[in-house]
């Protein structure tokens, strides 16, 4: 069995699982946010079960519209907060919260070998620590909160192997955008993506989170990495409980193995309206922008902010550009403050916000007007994603975002340094 199959089978009563089989898997962690939890709670009540199966395994994170942007969203958070209190579930209040997929690994809640489900499509992010993690809907979460189990179809696994050393300014975001550009937004539909090869082994954990995060953008059920020294080092001070590490068998089967040589890869930019519309940054230079967003569950971690600050240090954001920087969690924010990154951003003329999803999904804190263009380190550039249906979103790394903020058009970091 491969890595995904090993983890899944360990969560059933079977010795072996194979792609296509329907299983009931025991879950180790369940997540919902301020948009999906109220619906999950409503459905949970319909089950007639008074208590969630295990309060230590259910996490609620308000992050999409918080600090609450209007009365209706305040009511949604209130539903979630009261339910969490009444059930004794894990809850992160404003002031402690972060964007869920930055927060859970950082808090040592998402661990290797676990089966994690979340009512959020980017739950696949935790594959970076070697978990089988996948997004679903609110009703799924409701049923799992009651039973501790979830129905699942065992996915086929596509293995992606990245060869070569990555050039400077090229990282996890570029690898995943490049991959989605090659296989398309449904190129891994229903499948698990397993990432391997020396280029990803060399990535910091933050770069792996970025890659696993966007597996869903290729239609995948999860994106997963084998645990290595970097993973265990990352978890050492964090893990809230012991965990079990699984590895693929020597004779593991994959539905496909795709190999790329990435030693010459350029930073990538995904043009609207799909993450698969990618081009190298050198072919994206005459595009004037109105806004830059650096943040989100894709690129709101410390490494991302360090890279953005490295590019912005001593420079100024273009006078016709709004640059919005959103640290992914309080921990990231505090560390960025200590390292002087926040000062760099503010001196450069960027706006820095408390952690929130905010503009990533067109919620608040940076909505686009008709005709406006944004380059963003987020994960989706669908029509209307960040505001008006007549606005445009381009996806790229923090390095490209920061360089573009300075020049007022899509730019590579090499042009400003």
């Amino acid at each position: 069995m491969n890595l995904a199959e090993k983890i899944l089978s360990a969560h059933t009563d079977r010795k072996q699982v194979a792609p296509g089989e329907f299983i009931n898997a025991r879950v180790d962690l369940i997540l919902a946010n301020d948009i999906t939890a109220p619906l999950a709670i409503k459905e949970f009540h319909r089950l007639g079960v008074p208590k969630i199966f295990d309060p230590k395994k259910v996490v609620f994170v308000p992050d999409h519209f918080v600090p609450s942007k209007d009365i209706a969203s305040a009511e949604q958070v209130k539903i979630m907060r009261s339910f969490a209190r009444e059930q004794g579930a894990i809850y992160f209040e404003v002031g402690q919260m972060g964007i869920e997929h930055v927060l859970l690994p950082e808090q040592g809640l998402a661990l290797p070998g676990q089966v994690i489900i979340g009512a959020d499509s980017h739950t696949c992010t935790y594959g970076a620590v070697g978990a089988f993690a996948t997004g679903m809907g609110s009703t799924d979460i409701a049923a799992a909160m009651a039973t501790g189990e979830i129905w699942m179809r065992v996915p086929p696994t596509i293995k992606f192997v990245y060869h070569g050393a990555l050039p400077k300014w090229v990282g996890g975001k570029d690898l995943i955008l490049f991959t989605i550009g090659k296989i398309g937004v449904d190129g891994a539909l229903y499948a698990a993506m397993e990432f391997a090869g020396e280029a990803v082994n060399a990535l910091p954990m933050d770069g792996r989170f970025t890659m696993a995060n966007m597996a869903i953008e290729a239609g995948a059920k999860t994106g997963i990495f084998a645990v290595d020294g970097k993973t265990t080092a990352y978890l050492q001070q964090r893990a809230r409980q012991p965990y079990k590490v699984y590895y693929a068998d020597k004779d593991a089967q994959y539905s496909q193995v795709i190999e790329y040589d990435v030693s010459q890869l350029e930073p990538q930019v995904a043009f609207p309206p799909l993450p698969s519309n990618t081009r190298p940054v050198s072919q994206a230079k005459d595009i004037k922008i109105d806004q830059v967003v650096i943040g989100s569950c894709t690129n709101g971690r410390l490494t991302d902010l360090r890279i953005a600050a490295e590019v912005l240090k001593g420079k100024l954001v273009h006078p016709e550009v709004r640059c919005i920087v959103i640290p992914g969690s309080q921990q990231v924010y505090l560390q960025a403050l200590k390292e002087g990154l926040i000062e760099t951003f503010i001196r450069a003329g960027a706006a820095v916000s408390t952690p929130t999803c905010g503009p990533c999904l067109g919620g608040h804190m940076g909505i686009l007007a008709a005709g406006e263009r944004c380059i963003s380190t987020t994960n989706r550039n669908f029509v209307g994603r960040m505001g008006s249906v007549k606005s445009e979103v381009y996806l790229a790394s923090p390095a490209v975002g920061a360089a573009s903020a300075i020049l007022g058009r899509i730019a590579s970091p090499e042009e400003v340094l």
């Binding site: 999409h64 949604q76 809907g137 937004v185 989706r380 669908f382 249906v389």
Partner: protein
């Protein structure tokens, strides 16, 4: 059970952001969501749609976020089924879980235009285009999913399971 209605046809990669934009996700009541169904791809949809109508689409329908608000809005506005070349994974789960039937049938997608009258049989997956007098068969549901669909969704299915366990 058979479902009958006019087809509304769309292209590939219709994502959950255009089905129900995030700016409306500060509520979760199906009837409220239904008012904005398909707003960012087809603003007139809410005025044209009639109860029982059927959405027909190309590949990867429902890609993007996990928001169950998307199939809920579609169901609440009266759409009785969706026929597509393929569906995004989470959307597929969500729709089946809330009792909105989906059918994968490339031939029916090719053989249908907006406005055609369609009739779909739930269990057999037979799809008839009554306007063009053609019929097609969708890919059958695996047994487990058929169980879910027949129970009326995941909540009903789970209640039954819990009752059997005696908890």
């Amino acid at each position: 059970m058979s479902l009958k209605g006019r087809a509304h046809k769309y292209g590939a990669d219709v994502n959950t952001d255009v089905i129900i934009p995030a700016r409306y996700l500060n509520v979760h009541e199906p009837d409220e969501l239904a008012k904005h169904c398909m707003e960012d791809i087809d603003p007139d949809f809410v005025n044209r749609v009639r109860p029982g109508d059927i959405i027909v689409a190309e590949t990867n329908f429902g890609c993007g976020s996990s928001r169950e608000h998307a199939p809920l809005a579609i169901k609440a506005i009266g759409i009785s089924a969706i026929v597509a070349r393929s569906f995004a994974r989470i959307f597929f789960r969500n729709a089946i879980n809330i009792g909105l039937p989906l059918f994968e049938c490339p031939e029916a997608v090719d053989g249908t235009e907006s406005g055609d009258l369609l009739e779909v049989e739930l269990v057999s997956g037979k799809i008839r285009n009554l306007t063009k007098r053609k019929s097609f068969t969708a890919r059958p549901y695996p047994d487990f999913m058929l169980e879910l669909v027949e129970a009326g969704g995941l909540i009903e299915h789970t209640r039954k399971k819990l009752a059997e366990k005696g908890t």
